[in-house]
């Protein structure tokens, strides 16, 4: 029954010519616009508010559309009858005109016949806050969330009543909670009464979210003020009195403030003095002083004094005058917020937050340090075998890490699925570096077992060759090793404490390797033979152990683990040919600090270095280079007191 009627109406409206529309009855929204035509045309921030309010509160379906198009500067007025439309530009001279009531196009017209309404940014702001009401009550929850996010960024006092109104009608519990929270945050900043604001603050006691601090901190913002005589006792919300000459408020800053407030004459800067002197050179003399002598500051002062006497330069404040002026004034910091109760409450809430924040930051730092320690441990665990157990200095260990990372990269090029490629890459990296390690042991290292310094240099030769080889094959730019999707993102406990999944994975991997190493060394035949060979090669050989084979396998194993570590490190750092050399010194440090020949020592060494580096970084967060420098210096000093590391082997196993 209704549908044909509506269709007929639609047909009618489409067939109505512009001329007819002029004479016909105006749609309700057009009537409303015409009612406020003058204000809209005038487009002044002072007089526009009633018009916007009228549109907002009209309850008409077209109201949000009008506000949206108006704010976006898409509203046009027809010159001959003053009716409002919105339009989109077809080309430079032509507009496609739409009717507000029906949101239908009524044809294309040359833009000469229309005037565009160009609300300035102030009015646009008013329109946007009027629109908020519609957005907050939009039937689409996603739009309501967007509106809340926008409000959280730039809410103001006009939004507060609208937000409060919309809470009651909110159907979704989650969004309702968000709205209530935002309402309190806005109340803190824009609440009408002090009591209301303090009450809102109380809700956020110990809340770690950043937005709470962002709302509270501006309340405690101060400005530095100066008065003659004593600090005023009342009438102002004073944060603290400042004593000129203290470290945080030097006398120069105090006097600069006086100058800025026009309460004292400016001090003469050396530049001004020089310029004044240069401007008044006459017959090779300035103020009675020959120009040639002016390289002496005292002569310059005399010359300037001469100029002042002659009335050629303004008098400048002397040191005594500056001191006297500063002495005669009182300096203090005043809260921009007038109410003392509010600032006090804000301070208290912030303090409660800070205590909790410090604790959480400590937790976060601990997690960071743990993950760094596990990275160092992972990089060093292969060394703990080759260097710690076998006593072979392998400078190419870093390059084995790099080979593992590149293997991961190559596998990823062949297998596009990241999860699968990672599963394939780990054994591949192990196989590649195991083979490389065995080859190196057979060809080079076994000839040099008694000569550790020669081993160091020979393996360094291999290291530079491998590094250059990698550069020749893969180029100098960094190659990405992308982690699978389920490793993206971070596990966050609250706004402060969070740790990325990759780091958790590396931590788990480090633990797995620790268990693997312990199992291998303590529970398997190979481990037993390895320990026997490294303690006494000849005795082991006479017991029927083949030391060549054991050495080969052990070295291969250490190298293979380096390869797997390479895949893990490549996941969170870019893969370059220098990847390994970035870790090699730290890895050796880890093993040396921990104590050679003991896996628990390596674990402790990695933990110590990780925590130390993060701890130093915490003191000076902007400078990780300094953190590394101080850490290395600390390690050098540490070695003084425990030359054999944290866990030192004793007796015959120690070797010497």
């Amino acid at each position: 029954m209704i549908r044909p009627l509506r269709a007929a109406l639609l047909l009618l409206s489409l067939s109505v010519s512009p001329a007819l529309a002029q004479t016909g009855a105006l749609s309700p929204i057009q009537a409303l616009l015409q009612e406020h035509r003058e204000a809209i045309e005038k487009s002044s921030r002072r007089t526009i508010q009633p018009a916007i309010d009228a549109i907002r509160d009209s309850g008409l379906d077209a109201a949000p559309l009008v506000l949206e198009q108006w704010g976006a500067r898409n509203m046009w007025q027809r010159e001959d009858d003053g009716l409002f439309f919105y339009a989109e530009e077809v080309d430079r001279d032509t507009l496609r005109i739409f009717d507000f009531a029906t949101a239908q196009s009524i044809g294309e017209f040359p833009d000469d016949a229309f005037d565009q309404l160009k609300p300035n940014s102030g009015i646009q702001g008013l329109i946007a806050s009027a629109l908020v009401k519609f957005q907050l009550n939009d039937p689409d929850p996603a739009k309501r969330r967007d509106a809340l996010a926008a409000l959280a960024r730039n809410g103001n006092e006009r939004h507060l009543p609208i937000l409060r109104e919309s809470i009651g009608a909110e159907p979704s519990a989650g969004i309702r909670q968000q709205k209530e929270r935002l309402e309190r945050l806005l109340t803190i900043s824009f609440g009408a009464s002090d009591a209301e604001r303090i009450e809102a603050m109380d809700h956020f006691r110990g809340d770690l979210a950043v937005d709470v601090r962002a709302a509270l901190n501006p309340i405690l913002a101060t400005t530095t003020e100066v008065v003659e005589g004593d600090v005023p006792a009342e009438g102002q919300n004073i944060a603290r009195a400042l004593r000129p000459g203290s470290e945080s408020f030097p006398e120069a800053a105090a006097y600069d403030l006086l100058v800025a407030r026009d309460m004292a004459p400016a001090r003469l800067s050396p530049d001004d003095q020089r310029n004044a002197l240069a401007a008044n050179i006459a017959d090779g003399r300035v103020g009675g002083v020959p120009v040639g002598e002016l390289s002496d500051p005292a002569a310059r002062d005399r010359a300037y004094a001469g100029l002042v006497e002659a009335g050629l330069a303004p008098p400048a404040a002397t040191g005594d005058e500056v001191a006297a002026a500063v002495e005669a004034h009182s300096f203090y910091e005043r809260y921009r917020e007038a109410s003392g109760a509010v600032t006090e409450a804000a301070q208290e809430v912030l303090r409660s937050i800070e205590v909790k924040l410090a604790f959480n930051q400590f937790l976060d730092l601990t997690l960071d340090a743990l993950s760094l320690a596990s990275i160092y441990f992972l990089a060093a665990i292969g060394l703990a075998i080759t260097f710690g157990v076998m006593g072979v200095i392998n400078m190419a260990h870093g390059e084995f890490i790099m080979m593992g990372a590149y293997t991961g990269y190559v596998v990823q090029q062949l297998i596009p699925d990241y999860t699968l490629s990672l599963i394939v890459a780990l054994p591949c990296a192990f196989a590649v570096t195991f083979a490389a390690g065995v080859a190196m042991e057979r060809l080079v290292i076994r000839w040099l077992y008694a000569r550790p310094l020669e081993t160091l240099l020979a393996t360094f030769g291999i290291s530079i060759a491998l590094q250059q080889l990698a550069k020749n094959i893969f180029g100098t730019q960094a190659r990405p090793l992308t982690s699978p999707g389920w490793l993206d993102g971070a596990l966050s406990f609250n706004d402060v404490v969070s740790i990325s999944y990759i780091r958790i994975a590396i931590f788990v991997l480090a633990l797995v390797f620790l268990a693997f190493f312990l199992f291998l060394m303590k529970r398997t035949r190979l481990g037993l033979e390895t320990r026997a060979v490294t303690q006494n090669r000849n005795m082991a050989a006479s017991m029927g152990i083949n030391p060549d084979r054991v050495n080969m396998l052990t070295f291969g194993l250490g190298s293979g683990i380096a390869g797997i570590a390479g895949v893990a490190i490549g996941l969170y750092a870019k893969v370059t040919s220098e990847l390994g050399s970035d870790y090699i010194v730290q890895s050796f440090m880890t093993v040396v600090v921990g104590g050679v020949g003991n896996i628990w020592g390596t674990l402790l060494g990695a933990t110590m270095i990780g925590f130390l580096q993060k701890g130093i970084e915490w003191f000076n967060p902007s400078n990780t280079l300094a953190a590394q420098t101080y850490m290395i210096i600390f390690i050098i000093i540490f070695i003084q007191f425990r030359p054999r590391g944290i866990i030192a082997l004793r007796g015959r196993a120690a070797g010497d």
């Binding site: 050396p270 020089r274 002197l277 240069a278 050179i281 300035v286 120009v291 040639g292 002016l294 390289s295 002496d296 500051p297 310059r300 200095i393 400078m395 080079v444 000839w447 040099l448 008694a450 000569r451 550790p452 310094l453 020669e454 160091l456 240099l457 020979a458 360094f460 030769g461 291999i462 290291s463 530079i464 060759a465 491998l466 590094q467 250059q468 080889l469 550069k471 020749n472 050399s581 010194v585 050796f588 440090m589 040396v592 400078n623 280079l625 300094a626 590394q628 420098t629 290395i632 210096i633 390690i635 050098i636 000093i637 070695i639 003084q640 007191f641 030359p643």
Partner: protein, 409 residues
């Protein structure tokens, strides 16, 4: 007269003669004082090579004779370069600033000159104040003293800490490497006051000298040759007498020397500090010829290269270090400058700029494995030097002890 210094070290005379002939030949072939057969940049390369030979002698002294495989001597080298570079940069900037301020209507005060120099030098790191380390930069003599004092003091403190806690062998190597890394990381920061990773630049211009680069390059060659000659004689003298015997004893069997009543730590500390100072002087002569110095120069890898040169030349003989440093650095310059024709293998063309490091690494491994005497061993073919017959045993139980093949009877 059988026991004179020269008689015990016949190589000194030969070396000095060769060095003199070389210097005269290069002078006669230079642009400034001769036919112009050698380009100025090549004269500079030769001068730099002489400095590298000097630091290699220092390395040989500390490693080949004392058994300390220091991976930090290039840091001392760079420290010497920084010390002289500070004066060069300050004095040159001072000249420029004074010149530009001379035209100002009012003559500048001293403070203004210093401020202008500061903003010139530290503009790149966003600062204009002189950090405390520049306090001596205005004076050549004080800064020249720093060339000796800075590396010497660092070596003294570090060596004292390391030797008294009896850190030896590879641990000491790793520790010196860590020291080098810490120093280079420190200098990489802008807060270190040495212009961060920009380093010091424009060092090739001698302040107040009107001569062109062609003449300056020859002067530096003479200076480097003189330093190398003196350094060689000093090193030969140090290792030839009783002192040298103790030092070699420490290399081969430290414990035995200690039980004989010698203060092993004192000897080691002396050699370590002396070689650090020699390295510093070499650096102070090197970097004005290179023109620029930055913290990358003292990366740990540079010090390992130094050990590589000595090993390739033949450690435990001073001329071996010189031969190794000269040979490897000149061949390296030759290969990396792209002058070596590429090797066409049919399926792949070997471009030596890319493959030189691979060749160097591999040949270094081969030298370590098969020719412990290094290139210096070739000299034995024309002298009467014979290796001892120790039935394959090394000279001593220590990690740095000479191998049978490296020794002489």
């Amino acid at each position: 007269m059988r026991n004179t210094f020269i008689a015990r070290n016949p190589s000194v005379l030969v070396f000095l003669a060769i060095l003199a002939v070389f210097t005269i030949a290069v002078t006669l072939l230079s642009h400034a004082y001769g036919t112009g057969g050698l380009s100025t940049s090549f004269v500079k390369t030769l001068g730099k090579t002489l400095c590298l030979c000097l630091v290699a002698i220092a390395m040989d002294l500390v490693w080949g004779y004392c058994g300390i495989l220091s991976l930090g001597h290039f840091a001392f080298f760079a420290l010497g370069g920084y010390a002289i570079g500070m004066w060069l940069m300050y004095a040159r900037t001072e000249l420029i600033v004074t010149q530009s301020l001379a035209n100002a209507p009012i003559p500048p005060t001293e403070q203004e000159v210093v401020d202008a120099i500061g903003s010139q030098i530290f503009g790149v790191v966003g600062s204009s104040d002189f950090p405390a380390v520049w306090v001596f930069a205005h004076s050549f003599w004080l800064q020249a003293l720093m060339v000796i004092a800075a590396p010497g003091l660092l070596a003294l403190i570090f060596g004292w800490l390391a030797f008294r806690s009896r850190v030896t062998g590879v641990y000491l190597s790793i520790l010196t490497q860590a020291m080098t890394l810490a120093l280079s990381l420190y200098l990489f920061q802008n807060e270190s006051g040495l212009r961060g990773n920009n380093g010091l630049s424009g060092l090739q211009n001698l302040p107040g000298v009107q001569a062109g680069q062609d003449e300056i390059s020859v002067w530096f060659l003479w200076g480097s040759a003189l330093a190398l000659g003196l350094g060689y004689v000093l090193a030969a003298w140090v290792v030839s007498g009783k002192f040298g015997s103790v030092v070699r004893g420490i290399r081969d069997d430290e414990a035995r020397v200690r039980f004989l009543g010698y203060s092993v730590e004192g000897y080691k500390l002396f050699v370590f500090t002396l070689t650090a100072i020699i390295a510093g002087i070499a650096g102070a002569l090197y970097y004005p010829q290179a023109g620029i110095i930055n913290p990358g120069e003292m990366a740990p890898i540079a010090s390992i290269y130094l050990a590589v040169w000595v090993a390739i030349g033949g450690r435990g003989r001073l001329y071996g270090a010189v031969i190794g440093a000269a040979f490897v650095s000149l061949v390296s310059t030759w290969f990396t400058s792209g002058q070596v024709p590429p090797l066409n293998l049919g399926v792949y063309t070997v471009d030596w700029v890319d493959w030189w490091l691979v060749l160097l690494g591999v040949s270094f491994v081969l030298v370590t494995l098969f020719a412990p005497k290094g290139i210096g061993g070739l000299i034995d073919l024309i002298t009467d030097r014979v290796t001892p017959d120790r039935h394959g045993a090394d000279y001593g139980p220590d990690k740095g002890a000479l191998q049978e093949g490296e020794g002489r009877r």
